[in-house]
């Protein structure tokens, strides 16, 4: 038996709110979602005209564009030569490709000994089931050491270009709020579900780098993507609770130092024919293959922080 509710009681139920929302009378998120009201775009005609004039003036001054037939011709010629240049390059490289040994065959013209050795002895010598991981982190580890420093130096240059000082930072804060809606409920709900999954998946990729496809870089990129999603959903205020520029600095410092020192030890013992104390472990176990797992973790941390740092820099010029 149903009892008829009084009007006041009915207005408290979720059904009432639902139907009201359905009929479009009320947006339940008003008051919860923080958004700047969008202003109608008013094209500033005067400014546009002035800019156009200035631009023409520059063109005139530099190239005398209004009465310059030859400039027009030059542009046409530029385009035509570009296409010709491209075609010439293509022809040259196609001829080269046509002389290369056929794709899919085993035999390289001179030898295959390096690749064969990696496949045959890789498991035994590096302990990594994933031969590629064994190759880049053990046989040819010097390249990979350089590679992680490429990433490091790139962040440094991005910092130089985009990091703001104190006063600019406050202004950027205001701009950031203007262009990006805050606390979008849909995004937040989805992010609450997705971010943990993404980050756990990234950790899985890193930890399995020596056992299957994956490794520090790909896993770190996945974790970085998770962090970027979190930042987009919840804003800088929340991420700053656990990730500031200081965190970035120290995480990068410790990971890269560990990388450098661990690899130095391995290079030093290798070159001086000393015995390395690092155990290889049982191939296939999670704790195996010597330094590869810790190095993957270090690389993963650096990459995750770097991806996040790139995003934060591009968006606001700081963390």
């Amino acid at each position: 038996m149903s009892r008829k509710k009084s009007n006041e009681e009915y207005q408290k139920t979720s059904a009432f709110r639902f139907f009201r929302w359905l009929s479009g009378e009320k947006d339940p998120y008003i008051g919860n979602v923080e958004m700047c009201p969008q202003e109608e775009y008013q094209p500033d005609r005067e400014a546009a005209l002035r800019h156009e004039k200035e631009h023409d003036a520059i063109l005139d001054k530099v190239y005398d564009a209004t009465h310059n037939k030859s400039l027009y011709l030059f542009h046409r010629l530029y385009q035509a030569t570009s296409v010709l240049f491209c075609l010439f390059l293509i022809a040259l490289l196609l001829v080269t490709v046509s002389y290369l040994p056929a794709n899919g065959t085993v035999i390289r013209p001179v030898n295959n000994e390096v690749a064969e050795r990696y496949i045959e002895k890789g498991l035994e010598e590096t302990g990594a089931v994933n031969i590629v991981a064994g190759m880049i982190l053990d046989y040819r580890a010097f390249d990979t050491l350089g590679e992680s420093h490429v990433l490091f130096v790139a962040t440094i240059t991005v910092l130089i270009l985009l990091r703001l000082n104190k006063t600019e930072k406050d202004e950027a804060e205001v701009n950031d709020r203007r262009f990006e809606p805050k606390n979008d409920a849909i995004l937040q709900l989805v992010a609450t579900f997705l971010v943990p999954i993404i980050i756990i998946f990234g950790i899985y990729i890193i930890l399995n780098g020596h056992l299957g496809p994956g490794g520090g870089f790909s896993g770190g990129a996945v974790i970085g993507a998770g962090l970027v999603l979190y930042l987009n959903a919840f804003g800088f205020k929340k991420t700053e609770r656990f990730f500031t520029e200081k965190t970035y600095k120290w995480v990068c410092f410790f990971s890269l130092s560990f990388y450098c020192l661990a690899k130095s030890y391995s290079f030093y013992t290798g070159a001086n024919q000393l015995h390395s104390v690092i155990p290889k472990g049982t191939p296939g176990a999670i704790l195996s293959s010597g330094l590869i797992l810790p190095l993957n973790i270090a690389v993963g941390l650096v990459v995750a922080c770097t991806i996040y740092a790139f995003y934060a820099m591009f968006r606001k010029g700081g963390f």
Binding site: L92, L93, V95, T96, V97, Y99, L100, P101, R108, P109, V110, N111, N112, E113, V114, A115, R117, Y118, E125, D138, Y139, R140, A141, F142, D143, L145, G146, E147, H149, V150, F152, V153, A154, I156, T157, L159, I160, L161, R163, N165, K249, W250, C252, F253, L256, S257, C260, L261, S264, S266, F267, Y268, T269, G270, A271, N272, Q273, S276
Partner: protein, 497 residues
């Protein structure tokens, strides 16, 4: 194996690691670390050089637990150790000579970042010098490029950022070509280590079947490195980058960064392809022609220039032309001349940039010639240093520039087909050099009584003056006692093969 054999590895690792350390240090400490690292690496290279001269043999150092075709390795010979030592000396002088301008031109909070970049640049240069592996070379070429770009745009004015963009674009084209050439090379030979590639290349050339792709690969790598080292038609980014960046950066860029790529090219010629095979291709003729064009057009642009720093920058284009002309001759003598010119140009160019900043400082910061009138009286040491650098560039005896021109001329006489062209262009280029450098020297020594600028004496800038004197001495030493250096280069090249 002697303990000294670890030194190349230590020097690369120390400079790489110090970059990471500087990221958590305050600016002052970072500066100290930077100086210390450069000095330590220089010292190690000097000891290594003496050791190598006494043993007379190069050695291979495994980077890891695996021997030649499987592992990665670095290699040190007389030429490598000498280059590393020289790079450290020049870098120390450039950093010390430009230190007083850094606070004016770079925001305070970014100083420690600057030292990180310099440390990483040093490590990448050392790695390019010592490496025996093509792909490692590629990775460190990229570190070199990115940190050089950082050095250009650390002084943030419109010109430097635009120059940095142009520099990056040209460099990326170069590295793309280098990587593509490398991949074709790997596909043909199945190796990435230089010594093993060389054996395979000899087999392929003897066999004859895969010659065409091999030569294309070599050509791609050469053009890539030429673009990166600003050979004549690819130099558009250079004047702005050298002319407007902070002075330490300009000195380091002009005297070290492009030289690192050129040294890599020498390594490729000798240790990857083989000198004789390289000379039998038409590539050296192309290098020769572009070198000659660079010598003339670089000097012509420098004459037209009205800005002292840009003028010095354009002169770099001409000097790089000299180096490639030496490659293009295709003889051992030409190669020795080129390598000597790398040293002499690096020593002179850093001196000129540092001296020029002293002259512009006493002219109200203006770099226009008209304002520089009489600047040498207001800052005597900078005037002397600039004059010494100019004389060296023109090729006056006693200075290093004279020896390199002499070596080029001697090398040119031995080459039948290219003698006339190289001698004529050498002559023209010397005259043009004289025109624009002497014009500047006369301008700065024309006395002007009522200039409203302050003078600077030795007491105001002790460190700066000491750096200038050291640079002049380095130049004179290279010029006066050139024979041991030339012998050393010859010995180093013999070890390469």
């Amino acid at each position: 194996m002697d303990f000294i054999c670890n030194f190349p590895f230590f020097s690369i690792l120390i400079s790489l690691f110090s970059g990471t350390i500087c990221s958590v240090l305050p600016a002052k400490a970072a500066k100290a670390v930077n100086r210390l690292v450069i000095a330590a690496v220089g010292l190690m290279s000097a000891v290594l050089l003496l050791y190598l001269l006494s043993t007379g043999e190069s050695f291979i150092y495994w980077m890891g637990h695996f021997p030649a075709p499987w592992g990665n390795e670095i290699r040190a010979g007389v030429l490598e150790a000498g280059m590393a030592l020289f790079f450290c000396v020049i870098m120390y002088l450039s950093m010390a000579g430009g230190a007083h301008k850094l606070p004016d031109e770079v925001v305070e909070s970014k100083h420690s970042l600057y030292y990180i970049l310099v440390n990483l640049l040093l490590s990448s240069l050392l790695a390019l010098v010592y490496t025996n592996d093509m792909f490692t070379a590629y990775v460190f070429v990229e570190i070199n490029t990115i940190s050089a770009c950082g050095l250009i745009m650390i002084r943030q004015v419109g010109r430097t950022i635009e120059a940095a963009v142009r520099y990056m674009i040209m460099s990326l084209l170069g590295s793309g070509l280098l990587l593509f050439g490398l991949c074709i090379m790997y596909d043909l030979t199945g190796h990435l280590l230089m010594s093993n590639i060389k054996e395979s290349v000899a087999l392929i050339m003897a066999n004859g079947e895969y010659q065409i792709p091999l030569i294309v690969a070599v050509a791609l790598m050469c053009i890539g490195l030429c673009i990166k080292s600003a050979l004549f038609p690819f130099h558009a980014w250079l004047p702005d980058a050298y002319g407007y960046s902070t002075v330490s950066s300009a000195a380091i860029l002009s005297s070290l960064v492009s030289k690192g790529y050129i040294f890599l090219l020498i390594k490729i010629i000798y240790r990857v392809i083989g000198f004789d095979i390289f000379n039998s291709t038409r590539i050296i003729d192309v290098l020769f022609v572009f070198g000659l064009m660079g010598m003339i057009f670089g000097s012509l642009s420098a004459i037209k220039e009205n800005d002292i720093r840009r003028m010095i920058a354009f002169s770099s284009v001409a000097q790089i032309g000299y180096i490639y002309m030496g490659f293009g001759m295709g003889t051992q003598a030409g190669m020795v001349a080129s390598i000597f010119h790398i040293l002499s140009h690096a020593a002179t160019k850093s001196l000129l940039f540092i001296a020029a900043i002293g002259l512009t400082d006493v002219s109200g910061g203006s770099r226009k010639f008209i304002d520089l009138t009489g600047a040498a009286y207001r800052n005597k040491w900078a005037g002397v240093a600039f004059t010494a650098g100019s004389l060296s560039m023109v090729g006056i005896p006693l200075f290093s520039g004279f020896i390199s021109k002499l070596l080029f001329a001697q090398a040119a006489v031995q080459v039948e087909g290219k003698m006339l062209a190289s001698l004529i262009v050498l002559g023209i280029s010397t005259v043009l050099n004289a025109v624009y450098f002497m014009k500047t020297v006369i301008r700065i020594y024309t006395s002007e009584q009522d200039a409203p600028y302050k003078s600077i004496t030795f007491r105001d800038r002790k460190a700066y003056t000491v750096v200038l004197v050291c640079s002049i001495l380095l130049n004179v030493i290279l010029g006066v006692s050139s024979q041991p250096v030339v012998d050393m280069i010859g010995q180093g090249l013999a070890m390469f093969a």
